[in-house]
Structures are given as structure tokens and as C-alpha cells.
Symmetry: D2
Subunit: 382 residues, 4 copies
């Protein structure tokens, strides 16, 4: 057993999700490395203390530079708003720390390029928290695609629909609302939600060649929590884009926080020559599968309850039929990261994969702004 | 083309459903015999006249005995309350008419036995309107079972749930409400709804050996529309029973008109060694199918949209993906009846099949009354 | 009762669907006008004769100009490939006939403009067979929108997914395959399938301002049934577009015949400030409804079984819980057309509505060709 | 913060589920008491050692009597086969320990009565691990019922369907297969699965008056893992029963391990005068809700995604739309037990509630054996 000492920055929603994953992974997965909750860091001393106590972190810091400087930390986990990712990650890389960074990787692709350069130079293990890749149903989809079961791919469509910002009374900025503040987030649903859809798409269906996008900000002004004033809203409330994948298939993506009735509905569908796949986050333990090779009269969409012992990750949990939930995708990501350290085959998505997604995000935003099709900058294939 | 001259008794819900079937069948099915709407019969002259005009019946009668006596009628269709079935059917048989009789066959199995004797003696083609056998999805289920795809059967469960009699203000008896009047209907949900479930079960899974039942009348008194007085309710509002099938499988049946939220939810499920089937009337164009022989990781319940050209009856309708509805089960039943005349292989369920269902209904009612398991009288197998 | 004498051109899929509607409408709806199947017309005498016999048309014609010239015909029904619509419709208008024309109205919007001019000048009742407007669930959606129950609309998305042309062995052109022949059809999925989606959208959500589209032809060459040679495929196999509606909402549309597993899946979803709606053609008797005004803990998407007597059209059919199917949308359209004649308030979509859809189709095709956003030509509002 | 020192007996499926709950509860719930993993106990030293290491238990025991005798243990958790529950629980009670016991409480109701007597005498906090009461959707159902939203209850139906013992090759007895060994389990599906359904039913719908049951053992002989010989199977493979609840509603229960296609499908449905509820374990994060008081045209079954912050327990987890899974029901049970210690209002189901379920189980088995209706012994209401 090798301890892996974690220093986490941020105690919000993601700070909790990551901490829970570190605490659980060794109970359920047999791994050489075991996370040790060494230190939690945030500016507000009282809050980070309470967080550390609740989750069992051995110490706290209020200055992230001090955390990175500590000798007893092996890995820096960056769980803070997007505008802070680059500086922290670059410093951590220089200090020789492994890095797990929240998504999207950079505030924009320029920042992300610097982050990739830093970890490449420092040769430190790195990963981006695109956790939905680790839902067992999505991994099963990946397996089926890799086995060639779908044949030639014609269509890929994904959307991520929420409804939590419809009220004009909701302020922007500050604390849990930083996602509405363009200075902290960089963009709205594009970087926050579509980035997830894009990461999965690149993984399942390969690179995207070009895009035509539209964005909209339905509520033009909101009170800003940091200034106390009503200010122009800088983020995109909704975004949709058409695209061509490098493999010749057509893509259709959409995200919004104005889709009444959907709390966090990430859905994807892939149509291949022989078979099709559908998945949605509101029932993440199921995969929909249609196989045209089934006997004609009994062909139909299958609802696969991805809870059998031969399904990805599932033998590590309970017994067939008993579902896991959202938090487990993070546990799986930690397990895979640790396994990567053990085997020498790094788990992904790493920073370079994160950069690829950021290139698409940037092209989407540029297309929406210019009302024109935009080419997507490509990342060198590994 | 051979005309088959129909004389129908009754102009209610079923009178309409049958008439529509007679009118449509030749547009969609290639058959030697073609129904001719010769006469409609009911006591109320004005109403039967309006009915005949609307549906294109060439003539009317107000005395069913006269209808049966007519030379220009080949087939008598009995679409009236249960207490009238036997007398009419026996007279029609004696007159040498073919008979299509609404379900349940008899007011009770005693009556049904006489009806079977009559048609047997007269050697006239006969059928009972258990139309749900003719839903394409149910026929597909039958095919899969007959091909042995399910293997040994362990479980059969069915229910028929409605909610239209929950209000205590609803009167009993008379016109459209005769189903609440024990003198007209014989029983409540048992003969009206469970009879459908039982007929399908006997067809799909063979005979029933014994039953243990309970019935309940939730609203004890209702105003009677014929007397104008509040009277004791004689029918069963709900009925459930356990049973053993002759093939060793276990059965579970339930019906009620007090299941809030279900308008006409007839569902059935069959669990076999290798595969399982589910169906429900609220989405009657779909069949649910689970096959354990599918590859492990992609096993799942398939939702078959029974609308392909190789699905039962479906090549006669539209194009794949376009659903048919409730009324088409009656069209199919007419088509099959006519085909039976043409080929000499009579379509079923005939009166003897109807009697088999009535035996189960009687055993269920007897069991509920006595609080004991009851053997079911068996019909000789053909 | 006033007879309305129908002369139909074409005996294919749509010829059957319309004929069935004419035959059924008076059985189920109380209307002043009653369709009379006067004549069927097509070039192939043997086939049109067989068709007329099956459906009960009193006579046949093999030259559509003769049909239009007949005095005993009140209404011309055009159920032939798109490239023939304009000539026939213009001639029929000149002859003072009412016209029911299959969709899309014109081979392109230029043709459609001439058709609108012709019926306007002739002042003849006219309608386009966009039948999906008449599914009870879609009409219910319209009612809810018109009552303001959704509030401000943010999103409209629709797609029409099929999978019947995936095989490269499928030829193009001729008979039932004319939809693959650009000379007969004008376009592929855009005019055939998206036109339906657009018509419904314009009805439910108002006009479309501009579009950005992409189209694809996956199989570049197919054998042509009329020439016997392998020829370039001229139609679009798939089409997707982004758009802005005049009311400020965002639209996303997609259609393809390469979506394995979907036979005829027309789905639509509308997200409003207070409520959302979803519908799909594979379960056309259901409407999905989410209302944010419901009490918080029991908020959820409702699956409405649109079969109650207070649902649109449904009191004319069976009893609650019993579903109708695809064909009934045509019956409703005929019923509404006849009601329009009776009341003097013409039913829609009329030719001008059909032209509005053709304008969107043309803009979509132009955008896809030019890789640019295109403005949509607007039809004057009534 | 008060530590609550746990001593657990058993390291199987349930040992893991409980341990996970103890480890997580304090991360997510604010409670005065915090579980401390003090000792794990089992006969196999190597295995219990590995278990203790994996989960963080501070010490081990191989003799459960020694565990119970230890001063540094506050609570004994019994996670072993049913035939061992009584002896351990009675000893623990005598030693003044709190007890959390796996379900069903006793090997039979006789044993359970002694267990109730022991904890009553010793006045120690006690609870039975009927975890499904703690699924947020089930708790929401309870709230709705308690608020009177359903009105008079007419029907309660529940089933628990599995398919893991269909193969005749599966042996009985020993290790994970003790559930097939009548000497260890007492009964088959009745005590294992129906006990869950019964516990929930008593909670949601009150006491059961009488039952009529049937059981079946489909595979009559299996190899016994402990003896190595083929032996008669003593358990019931399937069980179904009818019942009357004390409130006048009708009940229908079924369980089997021969329902192909269902891994762990616990479903329940309740039909009340005004509203109905459905739930199933395969999608445990959803509750189906039908309310007849909804406006007529938009009435429908609502699928409630029970993940909002005002849903039971959910504010303690992630953000709306993100589902939790099976394991969380155990965390909630621990949280409620600890809250009960804190507030002095003991959480339930306690041993007396467990006894009530055992009385129903015994009546069911007796009815199945005698083929007669049986009265259910009632537990005194609190």
C-alpha cells in the first residue's frame, strides 16, 4: 500500500464530490495507491476548517501557494472557479505535484495551452474531472463502439438541459453563483455544461472538424452579488451548435439553463449503421441499446440496467439490480487515476484531452459571435 | 367475392366497434367474404334508425326474434348486455345463423354451456368478441410462446385496472351503466374485465387448475337508474385471485374499477425460463421482451414497436413506425373470422373457448364467496 | 346532409390514408357535409381500377385533366409526388374545385407561390395534408400554449428520425421510392420530414426568422429505378438546422433517414417559462407535460394518456383509456375541413400556411448550400 | 460530538453496506453522534482481518460472545444469516448494547418475540435493517399518505421479482448461498424479499388482517454446498398472497426468484380515492404520482425525479437532478437512528415493528401450507 497525499483547493460542491471519492475508493477497489486526506485549502479559515473536520483532512491552509509548497503533499486537486485553474495548475506543476483539475481545463484555450505546456515540461501525472466518462453506462457505450458494434457512425447528438436560472430574481456572481459571472466562469452553459458533452463526444466519436453555433442570453441584466449592482449578464444562457466530426458523422449539441422541467438532463445518442445508443443522466444507471442485427420481429430498444457484475466497475459495488448514483463516477475516476499510476498507463482525460475540449468550446463561442462556421483547432492524436 | 350479410343487435359501444370493423375489413384485408351491413336491431326505433343511418345498415328491426327469422341475414352479432346473450344465441343457432357474441359468453357458465350445445348441434360458425387476442403485440407474444422461446413458464400475471366508478354519486343500472347492475351483468369486474385477462391467459398459457379469490364491493349502495331508488350494489368492484395453471406455472390476476389513474390498463406479464414478455393496453402497439440468451452486457428489456411489416397484421395497414389503435383489434377479429370461413379452419375463441373462460369466472366467484380454493371445471381440449 | 364529391389523384400510401378518412368521418363526426367517393384517378388503369374497387370509388379516370374537368366532382385531392402538385392544383383552382393537397405544398416555394395565387384568385377552399397537427395530443399542446400556460417560450426543438435508407442496396426513384429521387421530391428529408416539423412549429410557436443549416448525403450513388443506372443521389439524407423564432425563442431541428432504431420518430419539445411540453409520434396518444406551478415535492413530467372525453376529438371515438392511431389524424383533418365549409371559418393549414413552410424549407436548403445563416421570407399574417 | 462505537458481526454483502453507511453518515449529515468503527467479528480470522483493514475497523474478534462482552462497544450490528439473529440479539441486549439487526428480525415469529422481549427488558435502542423505508421516494410516498393526499385507500400491491436462481445447477447453502438453505434462512423469498414488501406496507398502509397465500418450489432438489450432496430444497422459490388490510383496502403481494429479466425489482403501488403512487427499486430515485385533482385535460402520471433539495434527505447530498443509489438508504437509516438517540424519539422500524412483519410472514407460510385463509397476529399499536 502506497499513500498518496492529497491537497485540495476549494470546498464547494466539487470539493465535496472529490473528497467523498478519495474516502471511498479504497473500500471498494483494490489498488496499490491509497489517497490520504492531507490538507484542505481555501481563503476563509473558518469554512475550510469546518470542511476539513467534516471530511477528515489532517490540516488546512488558507494560501494555496503554501499548500503547493508543502513537502507532504503529492497531489493538488483544483476545485475552484475556472479563472483560477491556470495559475494554480502551472504552479503545482512547477512544484512537481500531480494535478487533478476541475473542468473546463482553462478559462479559455489560451490558458489551457499553458497548463498543458506546464505539465508536459514537469512530467507530472494530470487529469481533468470530466466525471461523466466514468458512469458505467457511458463506459459500456465506449466498449460497444470500440468493438465496432455500431459500424459506421452517422449521427451524434447531445444536450445538457437545466432550468435553474429562469427566474430574473436570481443574482449573478459570488459563492455558489460564480457560474453566472463571466469573469469567473469565462462562459455560461458552453464551458459549464457543453464542455461535458464535448468531452464525452470526443472520447466516443473522435475529433470535431467545424461548428456553426448560436448563443443567447435570455435575461440581459441581473444583480451582481459581489458589487451589489444590477449589471449586464456576460454569460450565454443557452447554446446550440451543428458540427461535422472527423469521421464524417453529423453532430448536434445543445445546452441551456432555461429548459423548464429538466434539472440536469445530460443526454446523448449515437446512431450507427448497425446499432444505436442512448443515455441520459437522469437515469444514469441505464443504457438504451438498439441492435438491428436482432431478429426482425423482436427488434426494439433495450433498456439495459447497468448493474450486472460484468458491467464496467459494477462488480466492485453491490449485487445485480442495485443501482449506484452520481457520486460514483468520481470514485471511478480516482480509481482509474490510481490504477494509471500503478500500471504506468495514465488514465484520461488528461490536460491535453481537456485542451481539445477547450478548442471546441472556443470555436463554438467564436462561431456564435461571428454567425459563421468555424474550424476547430485540433490536438495532436496520441 | 362472397357477401356475408350481418344482422347486429345493439347499438352501444360494442355495436359501434363491430360496425366499424365490418366497414373497414375489406379495405385492408384481401378476403373472399365481405361483410354487408344488412340490418341493425334494437328496441328503441328512433335510436336504431339513427344508428343504421350513421353506419350504413340497409334496414332496421326492433324485435330481435324477427331479425333472426329473416332469410337475408347470414350472421347474427350479439352486442347487448350479458343477461340476453344465451336466449339470442340459442335462437340464432336454431335458425342456422353464424354468431358473433360479445363477451363474456354467458351470464354464467350454465348459460354458456347451453350456448355451446346449441351451436354444436346447429354446426354454425361461432366466435366470442375477446378482441384483445387480436392486438398485434399480443399475437406476437403468442408466436414467441408457440416457438418455445420462453421455455418452461414460471409465472403469469395480469390485471385490468380502471377508475371510473370511484364516485359514490355514480348510479347503477340502465343504458351505458348496465355493467354496474348485477342482474344485467352477472358480476362486476370479474365477468367484465377479468374475463378478458382469463381468455388471453388460457390462449397463451393453457388451462387453469384451481383458484383462490377475493372480491370487494367498496361502495355498498348506489341509486339504481331503472328503479330510481338507492339499492344494494350486487356486483364486485374489485377481484383478485391466485391460481395454478395446468403447466405448473403460478398465476396472479387482479381487476378493479377503483385504481385511480388507470383508465383501461390491461397488463400481462409472462416469465419463462429463457425469456419474458410484458404488454399493456395503454400502449397496445408495444411489446416488452427480455431474452436471457442475449449477450450479457447488452441484455435488457426491449420495447418492440409492433408496427413493422413482418409483425402480425401490420403489413395490411400503414408503414413501419405508424401505430394502430384499439379499434383495429376488432377489424382483425373480423378478418380472421372471415378467413376461417374461407379456409375451413374456424377462427377462435369460439363458444367453447368462451365457456372455458366462464368456468374460470365461476370458480373465482365461488372461491371469493366461500373463502376457499376452488377447482376449475375443464373444457375438453381440441 | 350535403354530399361532397371527391376526386382523388394517386393511389399510394397517401391515397389510402385519405380514402380511409373520407370513409370514416361521417361514422364518427356529426357534420353537414359528407364525402362521397366519386372518382379515383391514376395513369395505370388496372391499378386505379383495383384501388377504386377496394375503397368504393364510383368511377375512375386515367387522365387527371379529365378528372378536373368533370362536373360531378367538388373537390380534388392531390396525393402524388411533389413535382406534380403545382400543375394539378392550379388547374383544379381554375376549374373552381376545392383542393386538398399533399405536403409539401410546392416542389419549391416558387411553385407554392403560384399555387397560393391560383386558389386566392379562384377563391376555392384549400388545405394541405399536414396531418400531424390533428393528433389529439398535438392539438392539446396547441390549446395549452394558446391559454398562455407555458409563458414566455425559450426553446423549441423537433426532429424526425427514420432508418429505412441505410442500406446502399436500396435504389432511388420510381413508385414508392420517388422520395429518393430529387426530380420528383425536390429535396430529401427536408421537404419530406422536416416540412412536417416546420409546419407544426409555425402553428405552435409562430414564424421563423433565420436559419443555419447543414445537410448530408451519406450514400452518394444509388441505382435509379427509372433509368436502371447507378446515378448520383441528389437528395439530402439528413438535415439539421438552428434558428431563431420571431418570438425570441431558439429552435433546433433535425431529420434523417439514418437513425438506426427509429422508424418514424417525430418528436417535439417546447420549453416555456412556466411549463414544458414533449410529444413523439411513436406514442402519439400521449403528451408529456411539466408544470412548474405544481407543488414542489410532487413536480414531475406527466404522461397524459390523451384518450379522455374532454381531450380534442376523443369524445367522438371510444371510451377513456382506449387509444387511436396514425390514421385518425387524417379523419380529423377531413372533419375539420368539412366543419370549415359548414361554418365559413376555413380550416388550416391552407395553401398560404403551406407556403410559409416552403419558405423555411428553401431557406434551410440555401443555408446548407452556402454555409451561411439565411433569413426566412415571411408570409403575411392572417 | 459523541462517538458511538460499533461492533459488527458479519462481513458479507450486508456487512459492507452497513460499514459504508457508518463511514459516510457524518460527512453528509450533521449529527451529535458519530459512528466509530471499533470492531468487526466473524469466525474466519483471515477474512475478518481483511475486512477490518479495508473498512477501517480498529480491531477484530472471531467469537461474537467476546465482542458483545467488550466494554468499548456501544452498538452491536448483526449482519449474519437469519438463524443466528435471536441468540446474538438476546445476548447483546443482556449486555446492554444497542442493536441494529438485519431483516427479517427472527428465524420465525417465535424467535422474534423473544428478541422483542429482550430489548424491551433491557431498554436498549434497537432497529431492524429494513432499508427500503429510507429511499427518498418511499419517504415522500409516506409523507403524501400522511398528509391525506390519497384519501381512502382501495388497493395496495407490491412485488419483489428476481431471476438469479433459475438455473438448476446453482447449489444451495453455504457462504453467499445461505439464502437457499432453509435451515439458515427459515424460508425462501417470503422471509427474504416479501418481508421487505410487508415492512413497507405496514408502514405506509397499516396492519394486515388476513392472508391467502400460495408458495412454490420450482427446482425440487439442489446440491448442498455444506454436505456436498443433492438434497431436497426446503425453501419457497416463489410466493404470492392476497390480503385484507385493517383499513379495508385489498392487498396483493408476490415474490419470486424466477422472474426472468428482473434482477431486484421491488415495486409497490397504492391506489387511493384521490391519488395513486407507484415506485420501483430499479429506478429508486423516481416516484410515480397521479393526482385526480389535477385539471382534467392535463391529468397524467407524474414521474418525480426525487432529487430536489426539498425532497427527503436530498439537501444533504448533491444538487437537483443528480441521483443517489441503493447504498444511500443505509446511510439514511444510520442517520435516523443517530437522530433518534439525539432527540429521544427512537427511529423505526424497531424490533416490535420487525415482529409485526414476522407475524405476517408466518401467516403467509401457514396459509400456503394449509391452503386456507389465515388471520394475522397483531402487534400492539404504539
Amino acid at each position: 500500500m502506497k499513500p498518496l497525499r492529497i491537497g485540495i483547493i476549494g470546498y464547494g460542491f466539487m470539493g465535496r464530490a472529490h473528497s467523498n471519492a478519495y474516502r471511498k475508493v479504497s473500500n471498494f477497489f483494490d489498488l496499490e495507491y491509497q489517497p490520504v486526506l492531507q490538507a484542505a485549502c481555501a481563503r476563509d479559515e473558518a469554512k475550510v476548517k469546518a470542511f476539513a473536520e467534516r471530511w477528515g483532512y489532517a490540516s488546512i491552509e488558507t494560501d494555496w501557494r503554501k499548500l503547493i509548497a508543502r513537502d507532504d503533499i503529492d497531489l493538488i486537486d483544483i476545485a475552484v472557479p475556472n479563472n483560477l485553474h491556470a495559475e494554480m495548475a502551472i504552479a503545482a506543476a512547477k512544484a512537481g505535484k500531480m494535478i487533478l483539475c476541475e473542468k473546463p481545463l482553462g478559462f479559455d484555450s489560451k490558458a489551457a495551452e499553458k497548463m498543458v505546456a506546464a505539465v508536459t515540461k514537469a512530467k507530472v501525472p494530470n487529469m481533468v474531472w470530466y466525471n461523466y466518462r466514468r458512469c458505467p453506462a457511458v463506459v459500456l457505450a465506449k466498449q460497444l463502439i470500440d468493438e465496432g458494434k455500431l459500424g459506421r457512425i452517422f449521427h451524434y447528438r447531445a444536450n445538457f438541459l437545466q432550468d435553474w436560472t429562469i427566474s430574473a430574481e436570481l443574482p449573478q456572481g459570488g459563492a455558489a453563483l460564480w457560474r453566472l459571472d463571466v469573469k469567473a466562469a469565462g462562459s455560461g452553459v458552453t464551458g459549464d455544461l457543453l464542455a461535458h458533452c464535448i468531452d464525452t463526444a470526443l472520447w466516443l466519436n473522435g475529433g470535431i472538424k467545424d461548428v456553426s453555433a448560436m448563443t443567447e442570453t435570455f435575461i440581459k441584466e441581473r444583480k451582481h452579488n459581489l458589487t451589489g449592482k444590477v449589471e449586464k449578464v456576460g454569460i450565454d444562457d443557452a447554446c446550440a451548435f451543428l458540427c461535422h466530426f472527423n469521421n464524417g458523422s453529423l453532430g448536434l449539441f445543445e445546452s441551456t439553463r432555461y429548459a423548464r422541467g429538466h434539472k440536469a438532463l445530460y443526454t446523448l445518442e449515437i446512431n450507427g449503421e448497425h446499432a444505436s445508443i442512448r443515455w441520459d443522466l437522469h437515469d444514469l444507471h441505464r443504457l438504451q441499446w438498439f441492435d438491428h442485427r436482432d431478429e426482425g420481429v423482436v427488434r426494439g430498444w433495450r433498456s439495459i440496467h447497468v448493474s450486472d457484475s460484468d458491467h464496467p466497475y459494477m462488480k466492485n459495488w453491490w449485487v445485480p439490480g442495485l443501482q449506484i448514483g452520481y457520486e460514483h463516477s468520481f470514485v471511478h475516476q480516482v480509481a482509474d487515476f490510481l490504477k494509471g499510476l500503478e500500471t504506468g498507463v495514465p488514465a484520461r482525460p488528461d490536460f491535453q484531452d481537456g485542451l481539445a475540449t477547450d478548442y471546441v468550446v472556443d470555436a463554438v463561442l467564436a462561431s456564435a459571435k461571428s454567425h459563421q462556421w468555424k474550424k476547430v483547432k485540433q490536438v495532436k492524436q496520441k
